[in-house]
């Protein structure tokens, strides 16, 4: 079907594609946010690998199409056939086998990296919390717990407010995490499904009312990040963000003691906007759930003693 010259040409094309797609794969790291956890590095490695393979396939096939447009145009009145081949069993087996091998490779890589994430503690543990749950089940859940963590922070979410309870019973609307230590977050939602997402952590977990979900994470880069609600939660969904501080253990402890003694005046953007809506060109005045005044989260800690 092909001449020797064409085989050489194709080999050259594939070689150039390999170089280009590898280069694009290297660029992929810079498209991602900062890496603030060890998991983030693994995820970015996987992304770079996927981009390389994707670029190879995209450029390979689109390149052939562009080549055909450039060199295989027919005169307007010429309706004779291009090539008589209706198929080629060898070629078809080749291009069934190639994607099969590629996806097996990709799945294997992804599985590997997923396992590493598990060891690092990204895995979530779900407890179905139902009133029917009997006492013996309580013992069973303990063995399920992920990697031991030095701290456990309770995370309470509701429309549209984040609230964190620290081991010394301090409650705050900011998430502070000690650097290079694994911290367990105990996630609980009050009303609708929300999501825990910090792009720099490459970690996203839905928080489902009625379920208690634990995640463990180990930040490795100090700094200030934004925590966002990642599952649509109603009118003020976009405002449900808060600050995350990753800091050295000293600073973290210092903040904890300082916060324990000082009075906090939490500011909630959703409440502020509900009271004084911003000027918009179109005003529908459609119904919205009214966000509760801040402070309710603090009361909750008295009733919820998990």
């Amino acid at each position: 079907m092909f001449s020797v010259f064409e085989y050489v040409l194709m080999a050259f094309y594939v070689a150039v594609l390999l170089v280009i797609s590898r280069w694009i794969g290297q660029q992929a790291f810079s498209w991602m946010p900062l890496q603030a956890t060890a998991e983030a590095q693994r995820v970015d490695d996987l992304f770079s690998f996927l981009v390389s393979i994707g670029a190879f396939i995209l450029l390979g096939l689109v390149g052939v199409m562009v080549y055909a447009i450039a060199f295989h145009r027919a005169p307007p009145e010429d309706y004779t056939e291009g090539h008589p081949s209706r198929g080629d069993a060898r070629l078809e087996i080749l291009w069934t086998a190639t994607p099969t091998l590629l996806v097996v490779w990709i799945a294997f890589q992804s599985f590997n990296i997923y396992q590493q994430l598990n060891i690092l503690g990204l895995n979530q543990i779900v407890h179905l919390h139902t009133p029917l749950e009997s006492a013996p089940a309580y013992a069973a859940t303990i063995s399920d717990l992920p990697k031991p963590a030095s701290e456990t922070i309770d995370v309470f979410v509701k429309q549209w407010d984040w609230s964190f309870r620290y081991p010394n019973n301090v409650t705050s609307n900011q998430l502070h995490l000690p650097l290079n230590r694994s911290t367990r977050l105990h996630l609980q939602a009050q009303d609708v499904i929300h999501g825990f997402y910090v792009p720099e952590f490459r970690l996203k977990q839905d928080i489902i009312p009625g379920r208690k979900i634990d995640i463990v994470l180990t930040p490795i880069r100090a700094g200030k990040y934004r925590l966002k609600d990642s599952q649509f939660s109603g009118t003020y969904f976009a405002l449900m963000e808060t600050d995350v501080y990753v800091e050295s253990l000293d600073k973290y402890d210092q903040w904890l003691t300082q916060t324990a003694t000082s009075e906090q005046t939490p500011v909630n953007q959703a409440v502020a906007e509900n009271i004084q809506p911003p000027k918009t060109l179109f005003n529908s005045g459609w119904y919205t759930v009214t966000p509760a005044q801040p402070g309710i989260a603090n009361k909750r800690k008295l009733t919820d003693d998990t």
């Binding site: 309706y79 799945a107 489902i208």
Partner: protein, 559 residues
């Protein structure tokens, strides 16, 4: 196995008279309860295009709001209503029913039948849609507006409606979706029956065009998967209006079960939308490259393969929904399997174009552009199947960009390709080629500008469905918004071309593209009963190279 009605129409041999009648009655037929599959097909296509324009206007409002980081164009409840209605309209009132309309028009012609198996059922399935669509739109005029919880309508957030109002946006959303679903199931029964039992003599399964294979696969998915969505929606309606607790966490219900029921249909729905688009590519690429479709049998089997695999991949939409590890890994593996039959198709299209004699008329431009952009959307799709990466970009604009590359840059491009390709057959007139090419470039470039820009935004962590965002995301958002306004404007030359050509275009010959396929053997537009005589099929499909199609006969060309 095959069946025809030749005995019923033996008296009908006054072809020219028939043609005249049809011409004069045309426009009235389209507003009537008509059982002709061709009239119903056009009814579907024209009506869904109107919904496409409405959905597009909603999208432009969304993009206008996102020009700036602050919420300053529409208030937040309205914004949430806009994206909910945009998604719902585009999926359930544009792509799925447009495909049903195109399939309605083409399948009987392509398999050599006189009509669909159940013409009355066919008309009923269509006539459910206009009231259901109008019902959905009417919710804009309710005091508290439309449904506002996205086209997924996940409980519990979808159940948060003002107390004491039985008729609310969410209620109307559910009722109209259930109606549309009933229409789809009735259509699916009709299509599957037609393809199995109404084929002309000699039209074996492996002589059917790939478009027919893809319609069969898509409609089988409707039959298998759609009932799960209907059940989920009815339970949701009970929770919403009658106080049941199926999905309410505080009443011991489980909101995650809804997600399973929803995605059990709504992932295969992607293939219900995409398979006919792949079928369109498989018709148009060979016709304009003058090659038989490369690897026809493997493409036909791959079509069915995609449908079969797609039933078992739905959990990849739920990788962050407290899904256990084993389930994440299982569904990662099954989702990646989709790449194999899809890859076979993409390779076959490329091989068909390879060493061909290309004719770059408008349908071919749209088909090649769509196929190329599909490869991009497919690549990002495989990325999303990889669980560790998906956890990062789940619910971000990366996903929004990915699926718009599928639903717009692939499927809607394929739909435009199909409209231009079969326009001479449907209307009996030619469209204006220059305007068509202009429309292509005005669509292809802005579509890439708009939807590519969403990928970097998602990688950087911008979430979908936000009505305001951090200023760091503004740059790409402005580019995406400007692209979307151009995309909106690009429909104007299309509408002008189609309306003008339908009224005043030059008369089309029976087979203007020298294409194979039974639909090109009958007149343009086809007779009321499609064929004077039911054809007997003796050759494989895509018979390019056969002198019958490649040698220009004077009578055929100089008319």
């Amino acid at each position: 196995m095959t069946h025809d009605f030749s005995q019923e129409i033996t008296g009908d041999n006054e072809e020219s008279k028939n043609y005249q009648n049809q011409q004069s009655n045309t426009w009235r037929e389209y507003f009537s309860f008509n059982t002709d599959h061709k009239v119903i097909g056009v009814q579907y296509m024209v009506m869904t295009f109107i919904f496409f324009l409405i959905g597009g206007l909603l999208a432009m409002l969304i993009r206008a709001e996102l020009l700036t980081p602050e919420s300053n164009l529409v208030d937040r409840p309205l914004y949430n209503g806009l994206f909910t209605m945009h998604g719902t309209i585009m999926i359930f009132l544009w792509i799925i029913p447009f495909n049903a309309g195109l399939s309605n028009y083409l399948v009987p012609l392509m398999i050599g039948a006189r009509d669909m198996a159940f013409p009355l059922l066919n008309a009923i399935s269509f006539w459910i849609l206009p009231p259901a669509g109008l019902l959905l739109l009417s919710s804009f005029f309710l005091p508290n507006g439309t449904a506002q919880s996205g086209w997924w309508s996940y409980p519990p957030v979808s159940l948060q409606v003002p107390g004491g109002e039985l008729i609310n946006g969410e209620f109307i959303w559910i009722v109209s979706l259930v109606l549309i679903g009933i229409s789809s199931i009735m259509g699916a029964v009709n299509f599957v029956t037609t393809i199995f039992w109404m084929r002309a003599p000699g039209m074996t399964f492996f002589r059917m065009p790939v478009f027919v294979w893809s319609v069969m696969s898509a409609q089988l998915l409707q039959l298998i998967n759609l009932p799960a969505l209907t059940a989920g929606l009815i339970l949701l309606l009970f929770d919403l209006s009658f106080g049941t607790q199926f999905f309410k966490p505080d009443g011991n219900g489980d909101p995650i079960i809804y997600q399973h029921l929803f995605w059990f249909y709504s992932h295969p729905a992607v293939y219900i939308m995409a398979l006919p688009a792949f079928g369109i590519f498989a018709e148009i690429l060979p016709a304009f490259s003058r090659n038989p479709l490369f690897g026809y049998r493997s493409v036909a089997i791959a079509t069915l393969g995609i449908a079969a695999i797609s039933i078992f991949v739905w959990v990849h939409h739920m990788f962050t929904s407290a899904t256990p590890g084993w389930m994440r890994m299982t569904f990662m593996a099954t989702s990646m399997l989709v790449a194999i039959p899809t890859g076979i198709k993409a390779f076959a299209w490329t091989a068909t174009i390879w060493r061909s004699k290309l004719h770059l008329e408008t349908p071919m431009l749209f088909a090649m552009g769509g196929a190329a952009m599909f490869i991009f959307g497919g690549v990002t799709g495989v990325m999303l199947a990889a669980t560790p990466f998906d956890i990062h970009v789940n619910n971000t604009y990366f996903v929004v960009g990915h699926f718009h590359y599928i639903v717009f840059n692939t499927i809607t491009m394929a739909i435009f390709a199909a409209i231009y390709y079969w326009f001479p057959k449907i209307t009996g007139r030619m469209y204006a080629e220059g305007w068509g090419k202009l429309h292509f470039w005005l669509t292809f470039i802005p579509a890439n500008i708009t939807f590519f820009s969403m990928h970097p935004l998602g990688l950087q962590g911008m979430l979908r469905r936000v009505s305001s965002y951090d200023p760091q995301y503004q740059g790409w958002n402005v580019i995406a918004s400007l692209g979307s306004f151009l995309l909106g404007a690009s429909t104007l030359p299309f509408i002008a071309n189609i309306v003008g050509s339908w009224l005043y275009g030059p008369r089309a010959v029976d087979n203007p593209w020298h294409a194979t396929g039974l639909e090109w053997t009958t007149s343009s537009p086809p007779l009321r009963d499609n064929f004077e005589e039911i054809p007997i099929v003796t050759r494989p499909p895509y018979d390019y190279g056969n002198p019958k199609y490649s040698v220009i006969e004077n009578s055929d060309h100089n008319e």
